[in-house]
């Protein structure tokens, strides 16, 4: 029994950490989040793709590295440390859908996404519909045209193609030359770009019925694992920043970290971070080696990570006091991303329900 990364996994994590600190530190990425249309560096994403970081968990016969989910979690863990902006989680989830589907069309888009040639995202939320309800978006298989409306579509205004859940299954809709009718949605996380998209135009069916459902379910599980690992990285970073500040900042003639009230907050932050670390890597290991328990472990890890990150990122702001509430300091970047990830990539609510259902409760 061992609970450690192996040599290759830690090497991968270490090189990615160095790359992120060099090319996508918050100092570099924050201006893009705040003022560019896309909110992130497309060239850095192309670099991630060319170095193979988008295909870590993808089997080799589908163009990935086949390095497994523990390696994937280690990578997302590193990305969370810099709160990497952009569609990283959306893109990885879309790749997970595509790589599970048969057919030339899925393979072609999967290859393009892995190569960094195309941004593909999953569009499945519809206005006013319960999660279980079948989508109202319709595809006409005869004419290959799609019609419907999707909300909270990640990077919906700029994606090159959307994987759309339809009344029949899954379709891929390449962005028309004139673009979709996409209304940007302003949300809590100003780095995230969501759109309300009214779909019209050509689309190609990827899968129907059960095949489509299985592909989405499998991809959503990996998406939840990725988000949990990303949350872990953010918590780790916020804790490090907070501890450094507690040692540095002085009040009443002493470092504020000597006050027990603050020490106890920091101790709880460490507890939540370490429990999340254990839960995330155990869930990743289940996905690799113990598939029967993977659904349970991923649901538990994502739900726990969401609650834990909420606590850690909130306490981080509190520890910093007034400057923690400023736009200038980075604390709010982590806090807002946490709020976003509590709801998207498997909301805490859905993960908790899933946790009971997989046990027959």
């Amino acid at each position: 029994m061992r609970f450690e990364l192996d040599g290759e996994q830690s090497l991968l994590q270490q090189s990615l950490r160095e790359l992120l600190e060099k090319e996508s530190s918050l100092e570099q990425s924050r201006p893009l989040m705040e003022s560019s249309a896309e909110g992130y560096s497309k060239s850095f994403y192309r670099q991630l793709a060319s170095l193979g970081y988008l295909g870590i968990g993808v089997p080799e016969d589908r163009g990935g590295a086949g390095a497994g989910y523990v390696a994937l979690a280690a990578a997302l863990h590193a990305m969370g440390r810099v709160a990497l902006p952009g569609p990283i989680l959306d893109l990885l989830e879309a790749i997970e859908v595509l790589r599970r589907l048969p057919g030339e069309e899925a393979r072609r888009w999967c290859d393009r996404a892995l190569a960094g040639d195309a941004l593909v995202c999953l569009a499945h939320r519809e206005p006013h519909s319960a999660r279980e309800a079948s989508p109202r978006t319709r595809i006409d298989p005869a004419t290959g045209s799609i019609a419907g409306r999707k909300v909270f579509v990640p990077f919906g205004a700029s994606a090159d193609a959307l994987i759309v859940t339809t009344d029949r299954g899954l379709a891929i809709a390449p962005r028309p030359d004139a673009g979709w009718d996409a209304r940007p949605l302003e949300t809590v996380d100003h780095a995230q770009r969501f759109a309300d998209v009214t779909l019209a135009g050509p689309a190609v069916e990827l899968a129907e019925g059960e095949d489509a459902r299985c592909a989405v379910e499998g991809a959503e599980r990996v998406g939840a694992l990725d988000a949990a690992a990303f949350l872990l990285g953010m918590m780790e970073r916020v804790l490090e920043m907070s501890v450094a500040y507690l040692k540095d900042r002085r009040a009443f003639g002493v470092p504020i970290g000597s006050f027990q009230a603050l020490q106890h907050r920091a101790a709880d932050m460490l507890l939540y971070t370490e429990n999340t670390r254990a839960a995330v890597y155990r869930a990743a290991w289940s996905c690799d080696c113990d598939p029967e328990s993977a659904a349970l472990q991923v649901a538990a890890a994502k739900a726990y990570a969401g609650d834990a990150a909420r606590f850690v990122c909130r306490e981080g702001i509190q520890v910093f006091g007034g400057v923690g509430f400023t736009w200038e300091y980075d604390l709010h970047i982590f806090y807002k991303r946490t709020k976003m990830l509590e709801e998207f990539h498997g909301s805490t609510r859905d993960q908790l329900e899933q946790l009971l259902r997989v046990q027959g409760i």
Partner: protein, 415 residues
């Protein structure tokens, strides 16, 4: 700065045996460990006449009878070779691994077996003897402790020395080669049934830490009186111990004069980590009972009820994962540090929340006492709820654990 307990950035896995991939993250139990689990499970199935909850539910069982049941069950576990599993054979142990010990503990709580009457002795005193005792002391004390022929209680806390244990005042005065102990101890778990106590007393009033020595005393002697102390659960498992010139023999000092503080701390830190590592397995049983109750009442259909219930499951899984990580580290020869304090906070704070949620969700059904009621199955949530209030206090309070984490794991300054 490294904040992580097991640093994912540092660890490599190059020493893997050939023919296997270099999978350093491996949470599987080995074939031998799985076989051991099966064996233990079967043993409980064949040897445990009634689960502990049924004994507690039986109105004809008095408190003394319940202790007698615990004593005889511990004896049969000892005779079957299941106690002292990870202790060296030469000291009365079984020379097995820490993983086997945890497997045994998980099966123990899964079977709802009677709690060991000597759990304090086995968890704290045993390791102290193994790490710091003399061969003569090990030979004399370990076998009867494991067989429950001698029950041990702990004499650490005093009325004015709880979290600040080093403020203890219980005095040890030389008397020839031996010592005479005078003072008062409190929160003495199993005190009313104990035969011996392992006790910290002051051999030097000037030296706060270096003036404390670790003594062993038989309770059946003039100069020691143990009075039961009723807890808010209604039980009197606790006691107060009054010592007035009680005799502690020279050969019954563990370690050297003045080493008591060091011994107590290393042992407490070690035990804090392993202790309750089986907690999530126990919680599985509590959660199953909670689900059954909610299903019967129909409350399981409500979303808000399901969400609160599921949060317990999520948290229990995260704590189980943290325990597995610690077990993996222990089984690879690492010494637990601050993880032990995280572990203590994890199980004790979780148990309190779980009992609160059970009361909130089960409603009036949680208020019914099952103990002594003749009900043969089911968790007595009244007891569990009330007892859960002790977890964050006993064995180093939550506040003390957070102090330890802040200072030792995070390196925050002291004042």
């Amino acid at each position: 700065m490294s904040l992580v307990v097991i640093d994912y950035e540092i660890v490599g896995g190059s020493d893997s045996p050939q023919g296997r991939t270099r999978a350093a993250l491996d949470l599987r139990f080995s074939d031998a460990e799985r076989a051991f689990r099966d064996e233990v499970r079967l043993w409980f199935e064949t040897h445990l006449a009634r689960p502990w909850s049924a004994e507690l539910g039986d109105p004809s069982n008095t408190e003394d009878q319940l202790v007698a049941i615990r004593r005889s069950f511990q004896r049969s576990l000892c005779d079957a070779g299941y106690l002292g599993l990870d202790w060296p054979r030469q000291f009365g142990g079984q020379d097995r691994s820490i993983v086997d010990r945890v497997i045994f503990q998980e099966e123990f709580v899964r079977a709802d077996a009677p709690p060991l009457p000597n759990f304090i002795g086995i968890q704290i005193f045993g390791p102290a003897l193994i790490h710091h005792g003399s061969d003569a002391q090990r030979e004399r004390f370990i076998p009867p402790m494991l067989r429950a022929d001698e029950i041990w209680c702990q004499g650490f806390s005093e009325p004015s020395a709880g979290s600040d244990l080093a403020a203890l005042r219980c005095a040890a005065v030389p008397d020839g080669d031996d010592y005479r102990i005078t003072g008062q101890k409190v929160w003495t778990t199993m005190g009313p049934w104990a035969d011996w106590t392992f006790l910290l007393a002051r051999t030097d009033p000037e030296d706060r830490y270096g003036g404390i020595t670790f003594f062993l005393l038989p309770l059946d002697q003039p100069g020691i009186e143990v009075r039961p102390l009723r807890q808010l659960t209604g039980d009197a498992e606790f006691g107060e111990m009054f010592l007035d010139g009680a005799l502690a023999r020279r050969e019954h000092i563990v370690g050297r004069i003045g080493e008591g503080w060091k011994i107590a701390n290393t042992v407490l830190a070690y035990e804090r980590g392993v202790y309750e590592i089986e907690g999530p397995a126990r919680n599985d049983r509590f959660l199953a009972d909670l689900v059954r109750g909610l299903r019967e009442s129909g409350a399981l259909a409500y979303d808000d009820v399901r969400q609160r219930l599921a949060r317990l499951f999520a948290e229990n899984e995260a704590i189980r994962a943290a325990g597995l990580r610690m077990l993996a580290a222990l089984s690879n020869g690492e010494t637990p540090g601050e993880e032990a304090s995280i572990q203590k906070l994890n199980w004790s704070e979780y148990a309190r929340r779980q009992a609160e949620v059970a009361f909130d969700l089960l409603g009036d059904q949680a208020h019914l006492r099952r103990r002594g009621s003749g009900a043969s199955v089911g968790v007595d949530w009244v007891y569990e709820h009330l007892f859960s209030l002790s977890g964050p206090i006993a064995g180093g309070s939550s506040e003390i654990q957070r102090n330890i984490i802040a200072k030792r794991a995070l390196g925050l300054p002291t004042r």
